[in-house]
Amino acid sequence: MDALSPDELLRKTMALRDQLAPQLPDIDPGDLVLILQSLLRPIGTGRRFFLRKLPSGVHVP
């Protein structure tokens, strides 16, 4: 699955935000954008979602 270009991801995210924000006033606007961006980057488009523990004990993507 091909990832959207950054410009296309931004355009689609903002279009969906404008569509959904009035329907979902209880969702924080920042969270709405975050979730929409995530939904527009499904598995297979290069997503990182595992935190790996370094020998120092710090977890990193």
Partner: protein, 156 residues
């Protein structure tokens, strides 16, 4: 594909190789449905039978990891460590009385590379995390519930 997606594909290939039927549950299931969360491991739900226990031993080998080991004395769950990432194995049910058969009947199929994952629905992930009630589960609930609301709105 990212290293994380490639690991998931390898896990699914290993499950196919050993013939083990497993549902992906927990945070990885939420990620697969678009939730913007991160996790440290993969949670699998399987039926608890002697044959499944044998296949879990082979799964550890297929993942080039250690044999499945108990998570703790207080839990029936097993963990497979020593591979690229930890894989936790839960048996028969999730918190909230969510049984394997009912979760499977609602599960969604999600392609990961050349493989297909069988994944607990986001609603079931939310229900299980709410029932589990651990701080790390409760912390994820707001973003998971908002993700489900947005998916539902997009489907209308």
């Amino acid at each position: 594909m990212s290293p994380d997606e490639t690991f998931l594909e390898r896990l699914l290939a290993a499950l196919d190789q050993v013939g083990l039927e497993a549902l992906i549950v927990g945070s990885t299931a939420a990620v697969l449905q678009g939730a913007p969360v991160m996790t440290q491991d993969v949670d699998l739900l399987v039926r608890d039978t002697p044959l499944v226990r044998q296949k879990l031993e082979k799964l550890g080998e297929a993942l080039k990891a250690a044999r499945p080991a108990p998570v703790s004395e207080l839990s029936s769950a097993l963990t497979i460590l020593g591979g690229e990432l930890p894989v936790d194995v839960l048996f028969d049910a999730l918190p909230g009385g969510l049984r394997f058969a009912s979760l499977k009947s609602r599960a969604v199929k999600i392609p990961v590379g050349e493989r297909t994952a069988t994944v607990a629905t986001l609603a079931d992930v939310i229900a299980s995390k709410a029932a589990a009630g651990r701080p790390k589960d409760l912390a994820q609930l707001p973003i998971l519930r908002d993700t489900l609301k947005i998916i539902t709105a997009l489907e209308k």
